[in-house]
């Protein structure tokens, strides 16, 4: 079982992100379960949502305490909550920022971990360019598909088309494609370094 935890703030589409992750996994014939950490939702408040992916039926209903992957939609959360809590030693991290982990003072987190599984993505900017708003969720799940190889970009596109239609779907697909390619580029660089 592969477990993903998404951290963000109310209004950033955190819950939608995990739902779309689950749809992308489903499109590839896998079992997936997405659910939010429930609370009184309000714009700007920290939000957590979860996605499990497996090849067999998922029965477990506990929150994800030891994720295989973290998607962090808002870097300001790093000062507020311990987003890295329970992250597995060989886990993946995708962070929405236009800085590097080192610039954000996160070099310690990387110690003893697989650096090629850590990636940053300027998802707000990608959102602004293609959707007209700094909504980072779709670029991040496409970026995560590239980083983890868990599913194909086409499956993310299918999930987008299931959720949105018309111009919004088009914009999101463009954003997803750019994010996917950007992460792939970064990974090439990391592998050569």
């Amino acid at each position: 079982m592969f477990q993903i935890r998404v951290h963000g703030r109310g209004g950033q589409g955190v819950v939608t992100a995990t739902e779309m992750l689950s749809v992308a996994a489903f499109e590839e014939g896998r079992h997936a379960q997405a659910f939010p950490s429930f609370g009184s939702e309000r714009t700007g408040a920290p939000v957590v949502a979860f996605c499990r992916i497996d090849d067999k039926e998922i029965r477990l209903r506990e929150p994800i305490m030891e994720p295989d992957a973290l998607i962090i939609q808002d870097p300001t959360l790093l000062h507020q909550i311990d987003v890295f809590a329970g992250l597995k030693q060989d886990g993946y991290v995708l962070l929405n920022t236009n800085h590097t982990f080192e610039e954000l003072g996160l070099a310690d987190i990387l110690k003893g971990r697989k650096a090629e599984r850590f990636c940053t993505l300027p998802a707000n900017e990608i959102g602004k360019t293609h959707i007209g708003r700094p909504i980072p969720n779709v670029p991040l799940i496409a970026g995560f598909a590239a980083l983890s190889g868990m599913f194909k970009l086409e499956s993310v596109v299918l999930a987008i088309n299931e959720k949105f239609s018309g111009k919004i779907a088009e914009g999101n697909i463009a954003a997803a494609t750019e994010a996917y390619n950007l992460v792939k580029e970064q990974m090439k660089g990391a592998n050569h370094a």
Partner: protein
């Protein structure tokens, strides 16, 4: 057709396939996406003929459902938590009048303290209301139980609550097989009411009944639930033959055969329990699980048959009879009367507290050694409890409990600054 979708939306699709003729709902919290999605289906003409009635309260929702069901329309509403409590007088009337209304309860806690999260306090508070209560383990089962519930309700002429864990199921995206219209039509015939308000053949429904006949009417409600003990497995069997899935029934056993320790529970927590039991069995522990699907009627004989050869059982329930202990546990103990089997109660997950595998591992191992108290409160923070008890001992004006506990736990409460 297999779909990856939210539990509430899946239930809405299933209900749509059951061709309800009247859906009434109070659309404000506590409510789920179920009636929202059904409202859209009615408005777009996808679900027709059907009237969607937006009412002014949950009390009105149930009252409208009573009226429409008595007029011969297949009637549906949905609620949860305080919403269910607000409609209680009408809830009893629906069952007392024998009207086959189907209503999901997206199980949630009841305040005070104010809480929106999952447990089973709401529908269990209606234990004796005369409604049947079926508990879904997964979203697939919630879908399937709705289809079975209309058939069962209309056959008995009694109302049914389909209970599904609020948030944990209603808001979870998972794989669900949505049947076709043809499949559902084949299983669920059009509503043929046992009683109907028809101007061509006038009757009254809702007579005042004095001491001379009240007990007989009430007994017949009980007799119908006893009939349901036979009917529920029959309908689940027929469902399996037609849809190819095990869904519904009275109870569901998982490695209970020959198990020394059996865990009993209702709803979605059964999934987590089964994962723990798999891990423990792999280590050689002789442990099994009994899921209760039909809480009302309570399947005394089936529960007894499943437990009779075990050494001990734990009823893990998301409900609390304050001043007593377990609610489900009381019924389970009744089922094993005279066997001498040791029973333990574990109260867990109240107000949405998560029930992690790690806590269950500890609990079940303690149960195996019979080291548990008769009633255990899983993961209760004894430090804050004892601190408050001490505070009350020391100070007369010890203040509001909820606020004190939040303060002790360091949680930001209603106060700002």
């Amino acid at each position: 057709m297999l779909k990856q979708m939210e539990g509430s939306k899946a239930v809405a699709e299933a209900v749509g396939l059951c061709r309800p003729e009247v859906i009434c709902a109070y659309p404000i919290s506590p409510q789920t996406h179920i009636v929202e999605a059904l409202g859209e289906m009615v408005k777009s003409g996808k679900l027709t003929p059907c009237e969607f009635i937006n009412v002014e309260s949950e009390f009105a929702a149930m009252s409208v459902a009573i009226g429409s069901s008595a007029a011969g329309a297949r009637s549906y509403t949905a609620t949860a938590s305080q919403g269910l409590l607000f409609m209680v007088e009408a809830v009893y009337n629906a069952s007392g009048l024998g009207l086959p209304i189907v209503m999901p309860v997206a199980n949630r806690a009841i305040g005070a303290p104010i809480n929106i999260w999952n447990d089973h306090s709401d529908s269990l508070s209606q234990r004796d209301s005369g409604w049947l209560q079926l508990f879904a383990e997964t979203n697939q089962e919630a879908v399937d139980l709705h289809i079975q519930a209309f058939r069962l309700a209309e056959e008995l002429s009694m109302p049914i609550m389909v209970c599904m864990d609020g948030f944990i199921l209603t808001h979870a995206f998972e794989r669900v097989d949505i049947p076709s219209q043809e499949q559902v039509d084949k299983y669920l015939p059009p509503f043929d009411p046992r009683q109907v308000l028809d101007p061509a053949e006038p009757v009254s429904i809702g007579a005042m009944v004095g001491p001379e006949a009240f007990m007989e009417v009430k007994y017949l409600a009980h007799a119908k639930q006893m009939q349901a003990i036979d009917l529920i497995p029959q309908l689940a069997n027929e469902f399996k033959q037609q849809f190819g899935r095990d869904s519904g029934g009275l109870v569901r056993s998982y490695f209970t055969e020959g198990a020394e320790t059996i865990i009993i529970a209702m709803g979605s927590v059964l999934g987590t329990i089964k994962d723990v039991v798999d891990e423990m069995r792999a280590e050689g522990h002789n442990i099994g699980v009994l899921g209760i699907i039909s809480y009302r009627p309570f399947p005394l004989a089936e529960v007894r048959a499943a437990l009779v050869n075990c050494k001990r059982f734990v009823v893990l329930e998301k409900s609390l009879a304050v001043g007593m202990g377990g609610i489900v546990a009381t019924d389970v103990r009744m089922a094993v009367t005279g066997t001498g089997i040791k029973g333990f109660t574990a109260i867990a997950g109240l107000g949405g507290r998560s029930i992690p595998k790690s806590s269950l591992h500890t609990l079940f191992r303690q149960a195996e050694k019979e080291e548990l108290q008769p009633v255990t409160f899983l993961d209760l923070d004894w430090d804050v409890v004892n601190k408050q008890l001490e505070r009350e001992k020391q100070t007369r004006r010890s203040g509001p409990i909820a606020e004190n506990i939040l303060h002790d736990k360091g949680v930001v409460s209603a106060k700002f600054g």
